[in-house]
Amino acid sequence: MSFKDVIDEEEREAYMLCNEAIVRAALEADVQLVSFYPGAPQTEILDNFERASNKYDLRIEVAANEKVALETVAGGAMLGKRSLTSMKSVGTNVASDALYTLAYTGLDGGCLCLIADDPHAHSSQSEQDGRWFGLTAYLPMLEPSTPREAMEMVKKGFELSEEFGTLVLIRTTTRVNHQSGIVPLGPMDRTPFEKVSWKDMKRPYTSVGELARKGKKEMLERMENIREKMADSSLNRIEYFDGKKLMDEGGSEEELGVITAGVAHSYTVEALSRLELSAKILKLGVINPLPEEVIKKFCEGLDKVVVVEELSPYIEDVVRRLVKDVDVYGKRTGHLSEALEYDIPAVIQGLSEITGVEEPFDYKEHCRKMKKYAEILPQRLPVFCAGCPHRATFWALRRAVGDPDKVFFANDIGCYSMMCLPPIQWSDTLLCMGASMGVAAGVQYAAEEKTIAVIGDSTLFHAGLPGVVNLVHNEDDVTIFVLDNAVTAMTGQQSHPGNPKKAGGREGKKVDIRPVLEGIGVEKIYDISSYEVKDNVDTIKEALAHQGVSAVISHGECALYHFRNYRHAGGELVPYFIDLNKCESVHACVLNFMCPAISVMPEEDGKARIHQDICVGCGVCSKLCPKGAIKSTATMYGGDDKPVLTVEDYEKYQEKKEAEK
């Protein structure tokens, strides 16, 4: 149910999020070293390990990026320590340089790398299919469907890794990572972290030229061994569905076979149930190497085989290669989609078309009909939080630039990515972590407009710095905006190298951004305080006027992070309010500002209103109001922190003051 269960030593059942279950399983397996860069949908693995590190003796890092994280855990595994990293789909692109070579060198200690894909791109820039990493890097890969299976595979993964001396990959998807269910809590047999002698376990982890050619041969042999050993793995299982329920044993009369993996397995079984179809199911847990003999044998005697997997036809194409005398259906036949995530209706539609069994319910028509009722609703798009420093920085940037068409705006990955979404839609590029710097380098050669590149602090440390070095070295003409909010905000305010705290809230060494940029040789650097919107306009104008590389570092802690710390320290939020006598409905606090704490009152001539339960008291709106109508509830009490006050309270206060006069 919560972190309490992750570290509960009682052996019982618990209701857990899959990401929590993964942490639990790794702790039970005596993992000793973990390192991560946060990113949906796997961030809760880091979050839970951070908390667990306060109880258990293990080494944990929030790494600068996924490549560093993977190299870190590989380093631990070289010394025989069980170690684990996890990363979002696209994070693996960053880590892949190390990943591909680690397959050549092998690893002596148990080492797991979990790759969390995001079909539907819920919180990612693409729907990348991470299964190809296993295949093309020659690394074994397991794929769970449920929290319970994820626990089993984490434990099995460590054993496999140690048995064969290789990094083992586990692939999940958003609907697995963010699925909760009942899982068994096993014994917590942990050993204290101890240093060991490298001399005793020394062997080269080197790969180049002759060594790489030797490593490749060993890697291929290793993969062959794994293929043989895993051929009859219980992680791949055959099930029977009789039209009503799922069984381990079945008859021999099934004509329909379904091969599936991951969360698609659950959609498949429920789709079969609604169609009342009987079928034989091969549920694959080992995604690389695929059990070819098992697949061939499974297909024998079947009329039709349907492959149900999300994203690319990774399994389907192998089935097509292996099985010639059975009709294979899936993405290649157009019955299932290569885009977006699946759900029960998507699988029902595919199976219905393939088998000719009528769909039991017209889901599309139902949705169309019901969504008509919701047409009166406004969209609820993601917006910057109340008090978010980014809102203030972008307000000043927009004023400094004037017409947004006057600049090329290279955006990057973080909360500020939201600038590219409606209704603001101000971003010319948004590719991947750190890309703003590289894109800006090319654009500034070709565009007549000034090029600006916006990047967050965590993203700068992650993948932005080489791009900055490149801009400086080539004497490019770009203004960089570093949004320094102290944390990796979007994933839940984890620390990063620019934060004084390291993993688990322990004291670390803060890497200051300004000296880093100075050291690289950025010619002009301006520090601004995000909330000082009016003053910042001129400073930004000056930075933009500079020919060459200039940087504006906008300092303002993530509001969620800042005000949470503030409240934990005993501080009371002091919201702002609208003085209705002064508000003239000019709406400077609404237009292009989009604060969730501000709405208007149509019944009061459209005057603005600040929701006292949402406002955190950043005060930026009060600086924008040309009528001076927005005031802090603290001002009337001499600036002291006070509990939430309402407009009514203020009016009473005004009356009292009048009466005193």
Binding site: M1, K4, H265, V383, P423, M490, H587
Partner: protein, 202 residues
């Protein structure tokens, strides 16, 4: 696949995931199988949030198909209507009596792209017109009454307890609430739960 399907929805920051944890834990305590799938958009706060909860021995998928939810529990009324397509015909919508206007709606109003805010009555009328059985709970006032403004979600758990009589035992839900909320807030949250239980019948 029989079982009980519940859609929980609301706005980021309202404690929806905590609500789903209470229900999940209560199911575990009662020895019931439960699966849930949560999804929050890009925003930490203010974005639309939905959690699929499925109770029953045979359920497998973390997603409820459209038209198959027995009940929608909404911490904000607009979100109930937004996800109404998940509800089975004649299913129950249990909503908090509360509307939160997204900043984009205010922006459109000021820009005169729309001529008025959507009103609470319009939203619940649409829910009823679509054939749902509407149940409303003023969770904010009940949470205030219980002495814990933040316990609106727990008020809704109480209301859900009445609505799901026979599916999840009340004792399990109370125990789950006690185990989930901070220790110093246990009393007020249990009070909020009880007020929610009574409010459902009104």
């Amino acid at each position: 696949m029989k079982g009980t399907n519940i859609i929980l929805c609301g706005i980021g920051g309202e404690g929806l995931v905590m609500l789903s944890n209470v229900i999940g834990e209560a199911c575990r305590l009662a020895g019931k199988n439960v699966i849930s799938g949560e999804m929050h958009g890009l925003a930490q706060r203010s974005g639309s949030v939905i959690v699929h909860m499925r109770i029953g021995e045979e359920v497998l998928s973390p997603l409820i198909p459209p038209g198959e939810a027995d009940m929608i529990v909404a911490l904000e009324a607009m979100e109930a209507l937004r996800y109404l397509y998940y509800l089975k015909p004649g299913g129950v919508v249990l909503t908090n009596k509360r509307l939160v206007h997204p900043p984009g709606e205010t922006h459109d109003l000021v820009m005169k792209k729309i001529d008025k805010y959507v009103e609470y009555d319009e939203v619940v009328e649409a829910i009823k017109e679509a054939g749902a059985e509407l149940r409303e709970v003023n969770a904010l006032s009940l949470a205030k009454k219980a002495g814990e403004v933040r316990a609106q979600n727990v008020v809704m758990v109480g209301a859900l307890c009445s609505a799901l009589e026979g599916v999840i035992p009340r004792d399990s839900l109370i125990q789950a609430v006690k185990g989930t909320v901070p220790e110093k807030a246990v009393e007020s949250n249990v009070e909020a739960f009880e007020l929610g239980v009574d409010a459902y019948g009104d």
